[in-house]
């Protein structure tokens, strides 16, 4: 009783009164006054005689019959002016569009008329008014892809090979997985987790590489990666739990695989039980199809990032697309399809249309990613999407992990050697097929 009283007291205090508003507003007013004071007191406070150092980021370099075009952004603390441009440290005439004066975070195109040689490496330099030179290396010059129908269909074909076909091939393992004994099934589930952990780490490393090489420190991109990944992780976790809970409440009979601490095939758990149980137990209610769908979405986001990277690599001349490379990606991504079907193995038979939808969700974004990456490359967008993909994948790994934990009874995860072997094997497969790309 005492408890309830105090609760109601708290509730009263929480009611928004005029005083609450006042207490909320006071700090803001003080901060505002301080800002006004600082901005309107020239010479009084912190007047620095040192001009802040300029910083220019060369985000993209394009090669065309017009010459070389560098896309630059002022990522420094103040306005700056572009003074000169060079190719391989040799000064060349150039034009800056729209203007050589760049306000903070403004961007510009620097067009250098230059007859370049296909396949040769180039270094593009931009010198600012204070004489500081900023450089961007291009490994191999190649004509920039233009959004022609032909180029778009080339990217679509690459995306199909790299994204859709391998995922669909992986999905074809569904009947095989269904016929496995529990231990072997555990093996494949943990193999899936291994594959996904590898993909997640891969995405984080790749986004970090782009963040370091293509983005200026002004964007704090490395923190952004972790931030976006964590936000994606927790929000997908929330979304999936909500959806699963709703589905569970609504369609009790569909639950086939919720045995929690007992064997694998016992049906049903009372809904009322679920309501009264802890969130720990509720985790048991995750439906396999939901996990598979989450995996498909996670992989879809990952493949979107991969598509961006492939398109960008073609654009930046970092990759000479060969059938061997495509083959490598195809093998590498086949395992993604396996990851999608593994959790559904012991559930009710899944209609083929649903499988195909999942395959498209997982594989299709590669094509969209390749289009965007190839035609509208933006390093910041690539970094954000790779991070979202990483967060999504780790959420899926978490779901698989907790799923296995509860279906595996009291034995725990790490006491089953099949799980450990599968996990290690999953990562190893990814590593080895990754060597092909």
């Amino acid at each position: 009783m005492e408890r309830e009283e105090s609760k109601s007291n708290i509730r009263n205090t929480y009611a928004i009164s005029k005083r609450t508003i006042l207490f909320g507003v006071i700090p803001i007013v003080v901060i505002g006054a301080m800002i006004i004071l600082l901005l309107n007191s020239p010479g009084m406070l912190f007047q620095s005689t040192i001009k802040p150092l300029p910083e220019i980021s060369i985000e993209k370099v394009e090669f065309s019959d017009r010459g070389i075009t560098a896309y630059v952004r002022n990522t420094g603390p103040s306005n700056t002016t572009i003074a000169q441009a060079d190719v391989n440290d040799r000064i060349h005439p150039a034009a800056v569009e729209p203007s050589r004066i760049l306000t903070r975070l403004a961007d510009a195109k620097v067009i250098i008329p230059f007859v370049w040689n296909t396949g040769e490496p180039y270094k593009i330099g931009i010198t600012t008014e204070d004489g500081t030179r900023f450089e961007k290396s291009v490994k191999s010059a190649a004509p920039a892809p233009h959004p022609t129908p032909q180029q778009a269909s080339t990217f679509a074909i690459i995306g199909t090979y790299v994204g859709i076909i391998p995922v669909m091939m992986g999905l074809a393992w569904y009947p095989f997985i269904r016929r496995l004994s529990p231990n072997k099934y555990n093996f494949f589930l943990s193999l899936t987790a291994g594959l996904l952990v590898f993909l997640g780490i891969d995405a984080l490393l790749e986004s970090n590489e782009i963040a370091v090489n293509a983005l200026s420190s002004a964007f704090n991109a490395q923190i952004l990666i972790i931030m976006v990944a964590i936000i994606t992780f927790v929000s997908l976790l929330y979304v999936s739990q909500r959806l699963i809970k709703r589905a569970t409440n609504r369609s009790k009979p569909e639950i086939e695989f919720n045995t929690g601490y007992s064997s694998h095939t016992e049906p049903d758990l009372e809904v009322s039980d679920t309501k009264s149980s802890t969130s720990f137990q509720r985790q048991v209610m995750i439906r396999p199809i939901a996990i598979s769908m989450m995996i498909a979405i996670g992989i879809g986001l990952h493949n979107f990032g991969e598509g961006l990277a492939i398109g960008a690599a073609v654009l930046l001349g970092e990759v000479a697309l060969s059938s061997f490379l495509i083959l490598g990606f195809t093998l590498h991504n086949t395992t993604e399809g396996l990851a999608i079907v593994a959790p559904m193995a012991k559930s009710r038979r899944i209609p083929i249309t649903k499988l195909i939808i999942m395959g498209l969700i997982a594989g299709g974004p590669t094509i969209i990613g390749a289009w965007i990456g190839g035609f509208l490359y933006s390093p910041i967008a690539t970094v954000i999407f790779l991070s979202i993909g990483a967060g999504a994948i780790f959420q899926v790994v978490y779901s698989i992990g907790s799923w296995m934990y509860h279906t595996n009874g009291s034995r725990g995860l790490l006491n089953n050697h099949w799980i450990i072997i599968g996990f290690a094997f999953g990562m190893l497969i990814m590593y080895l097929t990754g060597l092909l790309t």
Partner: protein
């Protein structure tokens, strides 16, 4: 029943995709906000390279002139400006030459079009004024330090230890008069000798000091060429290379000389960071007098390499009119500014036809007038207006 879930999740996924697309498009949109009121042509210095038009700003150091108000030096004025000082005579008849050099280190000037650099200067320019005397003269140089750091002047040549400008720095606001006899004749240089040397020299505290032989040298069109560089981003590598202070200057302002007239260049290498610099003359050879301390040439050549601080005198004349390039044969230096042109003007008495006849007779090659003029119109690097 599970379709709504798919729809919701697919909706989330697609909205993220569209968010990305719109973000990218937004970030690109600022590029399209272009001012279309002006249309400028750029490029085309190199044969076969695209010539483009732009609504933006053209940055072309090979073709743009620095506003004289900001420029670190006027290379055309510096080229033929020799300072003989305020002349007086001592009781025993010796010529005394008084010079004043003011050191400063706080000004920011334009060293290449659009590039502003904190220059340390003698009398406000890089290079400092050319000081010229005759062997045996008494040279008195008063250094006034208007900078914020200690500075000095160290002259090359023969003089007493206390006039060497090494151990005694002149404090900010201070003043000192260096006095010595100009000896021997030759081509020398002067520079600040405060440490760190790299800093004081790299920022521009140097100039040329010429001691003429008593009997003089044959009359000639004389000019000074000081080769230097600027490390504007302080990475111990030069960003710009010049002759006489501003990159590419003599590309858009060719040095006009007369055909068949003797040209004498006092060439000094003040380049920091790069150990070697050189001078190559097109379509001609020159007599080279190493350090200028002898009156007979050491070499007859079209290229000379000089280490840091080395110098020499070049003598040549052009037989044919036209535009001729001179530059560092280290192509990196040339393409970062150390390149220029001589415009050889025809002798007023001779017509173009006559000179062309001479050309074909001498070379046993028949040039038509058209061919010849075509050839002279092609400029390998850097255009001219």
């Amino acid at each position: 029943m599970s379709y709504p879930r798919i729809v919701v999740l697919f909706g989330i996924a697609t909205s993220i995709v569209f968010l990305a697309i719109s973000t990218i498009l937004y970030s690109r949109s600022s590029l399209s906000e272009q001012n279309s009121s002006k249309l400028e042509t750029f490029g085309g210095h190199t044969p076969g390279y695209p010539i483009l038009t732009t609504t933006g700003d053209v940055i072309d150091p090979m073709n743009s002139v620095i506003n004289p108000k900001n420029a670190v030096v006027d290379p055309m004025k510096y080229l033929r400006e020799f300072n003989y000082g305020r002349v007086s005579t001592s009781p025993n008849g010796t010529v005394i030459r008084d010079f004043t050099l003011i050191a400063s280190d706080q000004h920011t000037k334009e060293v290449s079009p659009g590039v502003f650099y904190n220059v340390w200067t003698f009398n406000g320019t890089i290079p400092g004024p050319t000081i010229r005397a005759t062997e045996g003269d008494i040279v008195r140089i008063t250094l006034i330090n208007e900078g914020t750091k200690f500075h000095s002047i160290h002259f090359h040549g023969i003089h007493p230890a206390e006039m060497d400008g090494v151990f005694e720095g002149i404090a900010p606001g201070g003043k000192f008069t260096y006095e010595f006899t100009a000896e021997p004749f030759g081509l020398f240089l002067y520079h600040c000798h405060m440490q760190p040397l790299e800093e004081h020299i790299g920022h521009g505290l140097y100039g040329v000091y010429i001691v003429d032989p008593k009997q003089g040298r044959p009359p000639a069109d004389e000019m000074v060429m000081l080769m230097n560089g600027y490390d504007t981003d302080f990475d111990s590598e030069n960003n710009f290379y010049t002759v006489n202070g501003i990159p590419f200057y003599y590309m858009h302002h060719p040095i006009q000389i007369e055909k068949n007239r003797l040209i004498r260049i006092y060439l000094v290498n003040m380049l920091e960071f790069d150990p070697l610099n050189n001078f190559h003359l097109h379509a001609n050879l020159f007599n080279f007098y190493k350090t200028g301390t002898k009156l007979v040439p050491d070499e007859y050549t079209d290229i000379v390499s000089l280490n840091q601080g080395e110098r020499g005198i070049l003598e040549f004349s052009y037989k044919y009119p036209g535009k001729y390039m001179f530059h560092a044969h280290k192509t990196e230096f040339a393409e970062k500014g150390w390149v220029g042109l001589f415009l050889v003007k025809d002798d007023k008495n001779e017509s173009v036809n006559q000179s062309l006849n001479v050309t074909s007779a001498m070379n046993n090659t028949s040039y038509s007038k058209n061919n010849f003029s075509n050839v002279t119109n092609i400029v390998p690097i850097g255009g001219y207006k």
